[in-house]
Symmetry: C2
């Protein structure tokens, strides 16, 4: 009888957990399911940041401001929930300077923080234990008819459901960051060594299953 009660309580607990996770997904488009990785694992931490965040700042070389850097708050997705591939995709309109800049000069930088994830509430956002990731590379427009565009659109629209209703006449198009350099801080002692290959390879066995 005691065992049955425990089972019932566990089921009830599981039900409520599922309910709250579902509710979170409904509002935010993605559940925060994985926990923060061990900071010693640079690839895991960087990929966790890319997978769990929904927005960041994308910096380009400004055409309007004589070559100065220009940061812009943008939404992004690196894949379907739980199956991110680490490459950030963006849904940008040329009405906004960032897309226009990238079409003239692809050099870009994309920065995200652990702070919005709520796992470093007790430390300052600049404290090195509150991890932060900057991906540098080339911001490229994706051929709208390619398989990659199909994948990226699904990734973006799943994480950001309202994107599919954004005005058609704004000519939103999908861009991706081709990563060339990674800057990760997730502990004391300066930037963690992490190559692009190590970053992209992380969890690749899981990706093949999609």
């Amino acid at each position: 009888m005691e065992v049955k009660n425990t089972g019932f309580s566990l089921s009830l607990l599981l039900f409520f957990c599922c309910f709250f996770v579902e509710a979170f997904v409904a509002v935010n488009g993605r559940a925060i399911v994985s926990t923060k990785p061990d900071p010693a694992d640079a690839a895991a931490t960087a990929r966790w940041l890319a997978s769990q965040n929904s927005w960041g700042v994308l910096s380009t070389i400004s055409q309007d401001l004589g070559g100065a850097p220009f940061g812009n708050v943008v939404s992004f997705s690196d894949g379907l929930p739980g199956h991110g591939r680490g490459i950030p995709y963006f849904y940008l309109t040329p009405l906004d300077p960032t897309a226009r800049n990238a079409l003239k000069d692809e050099r870009s930088s994309f920065s995200i923080s652990e702070h919005p994830l709520g796992t470093c509430r007790k430390t300052d956002p600049e404290n090195p234990t509150c991890s932060k990731l900057t991906l540098n590379g080339k911001l490229k427009l994706i051929d709208g008819k390619s398989k990659e565009a199909e994948y990226a659109q699904r990734a973006l629209f799943t994480k950001h459901p309202e994107m599919k209703d954004w005005p058609k006449d704004h000519d939103f198009q999908i861009f991706k960051l081709v990563i060339e350099n990674i800057f990760l801080i997730d502990w004391f002692g300066g930037a963690k060594p992490l190559t692009v290959a190590e970053y992209l390879r992380y969890g690749m066995d899981q990706q093949r299953a999609i």
Copy 2:
């Protein structure tokens, strides 16, 4: 008797409100006291974003990456709680690329979003009604013995209490962004016209009282 009860209930409510605000300040260093301004008031919205946010992404021209933009998550403060002046101050170490970059090329961009403030939870971070601000200008090291450094340090240490205990041998110094251009999105229809003078002038009467 009914009036007395109402008075008591109100006092109780006020007590709990104060308690929670105090608790919030203790953890976050600053209370979110002001409400979101009318989006039609560009200066008020921009200054609200600068005053209420605690971190953003500061982009510089990378010396290590051949002049590419380089964004970096940093903490900042624009003044004492409720008395921000709109100029972002930073506490940076030359061990980090951002400070080194700025000492070679001052051109910088600082981006913040409304999203961390919790006032646009129902919209996507890239939705134009979830406001975002990018300040472009020159990132300058402040003379450590100046009155401005004293003010900026008080502003930074009040908003980010742990900064005062950061390692002395890391040579943290105060930088400020001298704003030259403002990019604000807070509604549909593209960037809001807002001059630097309008931005800095906003609420100036209050500032004189400090």
